[in-house]
Amino acid sequence: MDQLSATFAALADPTRRAILARLTEGPATVKELSEPFDMSGPAISKHLRVLEKAGLITRGREAQWRPCQLDATPLREVSAWAENYRRFWDASYTRLDALLTEMKENEQ
């Protein structure tokens, strides 16, 4: 799987997105990450492995705690893509707003 596919596959899961959102605030341990979710440590670890493989997080070397940290590089690619897509449509939709206003006035 290439980088972007791995990123998208990792982002497709809501638990993994929530984990990433938590990590934007700073590094956290598996225990800290599993607290907000009704999930076992192993289940969270499985999600973390997917995120790690996708290059979205890195994990500390201390065997016991292994704090997780966000790596934003792959997300920047997704972000740039989504931003371009949104910009094309947003510009078009702003024109559509004006056209619809005109159409409503013509109907009255």
Binding site: L4, A72, A80, L100, M103, K104
Partner: protein, 159 residues
């Protein structure tokens, strides 16, 4: 009458879909009309300022073809998209195939939901394969490199 502008949100419902949602201050019948009549489409479906839409063909029936073409007035850049309608439910739902450049086809579903005179239009593009999605991603990303870290929170919030 003032024009109300709502925000456009882009979401990723699954690993081969891209969805976009936008609300308009108009009934579904008018949004549908603006979305399916070439003379109206040409006035808004233009992306960033400066582009024109010299090709806009809509044969609005199941099995009917559509083709859109955009160009800069000086002729320096142009691109086209085309496809076929597979479901046409007036004022409510439109499904079509979409071909863009050398990308494998995508299937686009547009849903129109009216509440209290306002219409939310949700466009979901499903790419037929992982390769297709990656090709589309590569196309859209060309001039987006190096965007700032601050956008990260925004993107995560929108996913």
């Amino acid at each position: 009458m003032t024009t109300v502008k709502f925000g456009t949100t882009v979401t990723l419902p699954s690993n081969n879909e891209i969805a976009m949602s936008r609300t308009f201050d108009a009934p579904a019948s008018l949004v549908w009309k603006a979305f399916t009549e070439p003379s109206l489409l040409r006035r808004w479906l233009l992306g960033p300022d400066g582009w024109e839409m010299p090709i806009c063909e809509v044969d609005l029936r199941v099995g009917g073809k559509w083709r859109y073409g955009w160009a800069l007035p000086d002729g320096s850049q142009a691109f086209e998209m085309y496809g076929e309608y597979t479901e046409v439910t007036p004022f409510s739902r439109l499904v079509n195939t979409e071909h863009f450049e050398d990308n494998p086809p995508a299937v686009t579903t547009v849903e129109f939901v009216e509440v209290d005179g306002r219409t939310t239009m949700t466009t979901t593009m499903r790419l037929v394969s992982q390769e297709a999605r990656d090709a589309v991603l590569a196309t859209g990303m060309s001039d987006g490199a190096g965007r700032s870290y601050e956008r990260l929170g925004e993107v995560l919030a929108s996913l």
